[in-house]
Amino acid sequence: MADIAGDEGDFTVKVVTHPRYVDTSKCIACGACTPKCPAKVSNDYNEGLDKRKAIYVRYAQAVPLKYGIDPAKCIKLTKGKCGNCEKQCPTGAVNYEDTETTRDIQVGSVIISAGFKPFDPSAYVQYSYSKYKNVVTALEMERILAASGPWMGHLVRPSDEKEPKKIAWLQCVGSRDVNTCDHPYCSSVCCMYAIKEAAIAKEHSHSGLDAAIFFMDMRTFGKDFEKYYEKAKTSGVRFIRSRIHTITEQPDKSLMIEYATEDGQAKTEVFDMVVLSHGLEVAKSSIELANKLGIELKSTQFVKTTSFAPVSSNRPGVYVCGALAGPKDIPLSVVEASAAACAAAGKLSSARGTLAQTKEVPQAVDVRGEVPKVGVFVCSCGINIASMVDVKAVVDYAKTLPFVEFVENNLFSCSQDTQDKMAQTIKEKGLNRVVVAACTPRTHEPLFQETLQAAGLNKYLFDMANIRNQDSWVHAAEPEKATEKAKDLVRMAVAKVALLQPLNEVKLSVNPAAMVIGGGVAGMNAALELAGQGFTTHLVERDAQLGGNARLLRITAQGEEVQPYLDGLAKKVMDNPLITTHLATSLKDVEGFVGNFKTTLAGPAGETVVEHGGAIIAIGGQEYQPSEYMYGQDPRVMTHLQIDAAMMNGELDAKKVNSAVFIQCVGSREPERPYCSKVCCTHSVESALHLKEHNPDCQVVIIYRDMRTFAERELLYKEARAKGVLFVRYDVNQKPVVKKDGDKLTVTVRDHILGRDLLIDADLVGLASAIVSHKNTELAQMFKVPLDEDGWFLEAHQKLRPVDFATDGVFMAGLAHYPKPLEEAVAQALAAVSRAVTVLSSAEMSLSGTVAFIDQRKCVGCGVCWTVCPYQAITQDDKGLAVVNEALCKGCGTCVASCRSGAPNLRGFTTQDVMAQIEAML
């Protein structure tokens, strides 16, 4: 991206395409070029742990799977000699004359998701990263552990490629440190990835690896993080709270770590390998890009956003997401990505669909009643299959199978030219069933199904034989047996495909109205965004007023006042003509499914039925009511929300507090609530700073287990220490004690450095009380969505689908998912809208044809199938027999397996189809 002109809604962006020296329209990724390339260069994908060639693909699954030439390393391009790759290329894709091209592109919005750069730890003299081979970065460790890495996933250390017996992970390398690297922030992700790497390294090790993590505070603050940490402890990963000052290499290349423990003892321990848990930073190129775009950065160099608009940069129409706007993990990056998509689309809704094209699919030919004419396409997958399996023998064999009309071998069946040819062949030969013997349907079935559709065939008249992942890859040592197995797999697929019938995809109309449940910050933001994009929205709030928990919050971690924002938000909601707000209302019943929900609301005016196409659950959470630390027995013992409320309404005068004690983890990280509430450490620090600001002489002590001021919240922690706030760590087995001594309130805590009890008089004891869920099982059941064991709504995939449910058309945002700060709740709200709009913006949606059906002649109405169905897609009809709702069915087949009378069957996988496959195998 070279330049940008114009304004929000209508930008002109100048984009420079650097020469690749390989024509991607011709490259079939056969790999013929690479073996003959004489230039061996450091492989940046494997973090320099091995070599690649100058003509290369970054990794085997790269998208696009097209080669490119590294111009700095290619001998032809640098010295004018060689030219081997051009000679080897069967398609003439290599072009040494390729040049840079520049084009102008018109867009309405821009999203910058340039990510982060892993910190280079060479700057740390004491860790000797560039000097000692067995000191590696965490990203190098990822490559060492990966099956696609330099040692194919075998756990070895770089110096001698021998398996290490002891590995140490050192935390906060390039994070929480201003002296060496000017990174005062916490990188947020390193504690978790270190635990993960330690756990996986232990799995990979043959000798019971001794894994130790040297840390300052373990920051396992996300959903299920704390459980993972506890599990790692039980599985024997050692956690050592310490500061490291020196690493020295031993004659055998192992490494001696010298460190100081918390109580000041100097210790040493020798490890075979040391992994540096390096942090995240903004790349120089991203800073330059930001400057070019006129985007404001924070002192940490991350892009500046506000808590209330977490994906908007200061330049209207330019949005940011991911680690560029602050160190964060994958789920939050994905949330922000969807949020940025929502924000970017929000201003363009009048032009929706004007440039995007939908694929035209020709009407499928009716093949019912025709004799099966099967086409078999056997893929070589470059050398992936062909080097192990005798592909030609498989082709010859396939020709002998019943109903097979045509067989062909392709170098890469998935390449665009092969796809076009395949469609042509289907038409020319009049094929009505297709088998592709190649890789896995998980990644490639949709592609081949599209080719069938392009050729006018119903896409369900198709099957794949996985002769790569389940054959050539796993039987590399036995090529003859692998070839026989490939024949077996092809025979099975042909036997099945001959029986397949065309399937219809149910088309559903979509009601473009949405319902948002919960009128807190997340719910209101979601409603406003939906309305902003033109969708009628019903906002349902249980209380008589909007606002939720945020009504009791004073400021955000960035210091923004919450109440004025909240008032503005509520006013915008009430004023928006597309939003109907239902106050003091709860849900009574939900019928229907994606695109067509019918929800009964119970409110002050009685019951109403609302029809909507999608729903966002944003019911929030609540503050834990402590029973510990004299809460409720003395008014000076208060929770965070009470302190905030009292500070705002003037009941608590910060000037008059002379001694305050905050106790962390009240109700969190306990056996009954084994999770971290994520926001409380920061909240205590904010309150401490507020007290210090109004009364600098006030003694403030924060008693904690691990300070979890993650990401840029670390700067607040730093500021608090600088302003004299005292931090005392307590052990969970030796909790502080709050006592009343006459009129005096005292807190006793065992100091972790002195090893002695401290007795503190307090005017105010702040309890960092946990956030707990509403455990709303009724709502969960109404929408057919799950809760986890702590009562939080459970997302479809923790990393990649963080606001979706497995049930289509229902999404979540805010505390209903897990404790989180305000800006994350806002981002989630926007993300949920973005996801919901992918449903609401389509006039109709087609559902998969692979659904169950019931042969009611065999059904006795025993109820087993509707009990086991995980999607509640089966109900009882008026005769008491089972009936499938195709809109809810996901085609899992559980009902088929459970029925004693064989009444249910799965289209595309009928018992007959599967039995034919089995018979072909035997």
Partner: protein, 61 residues
């Protein structure tokens, strides 16, 4: 957006890591044309270099 002003129904996403890909997919599925700009030869970003991911230890690829 003020009425009458030209609005282009396309979005540019700069950076093809996990965040960029998700943003691009959401936009394309909502009726907007997306231009993805990535400086490397393939999309995927740093996540493609990770081995497995928490908590299920699924392959990051």
């Amino acid at each position: 957006m003020a009425a009458g002003k030209k609005v282009t129904g396309a979005v540019m996403v700069v950076g093809g890591g996990i965040a960029g890909m998700q943003a691009a997919l959401d936009l394309a599925n909502s009726g907007y044309y997306v231009y993805m700009v990535e400086k490397g030869p393939a999309i995927g970003g740093v996540m493609s270099q990770l081995d497995k991911t928490f908590p299920t230890n699924d392959c990051a690829m």
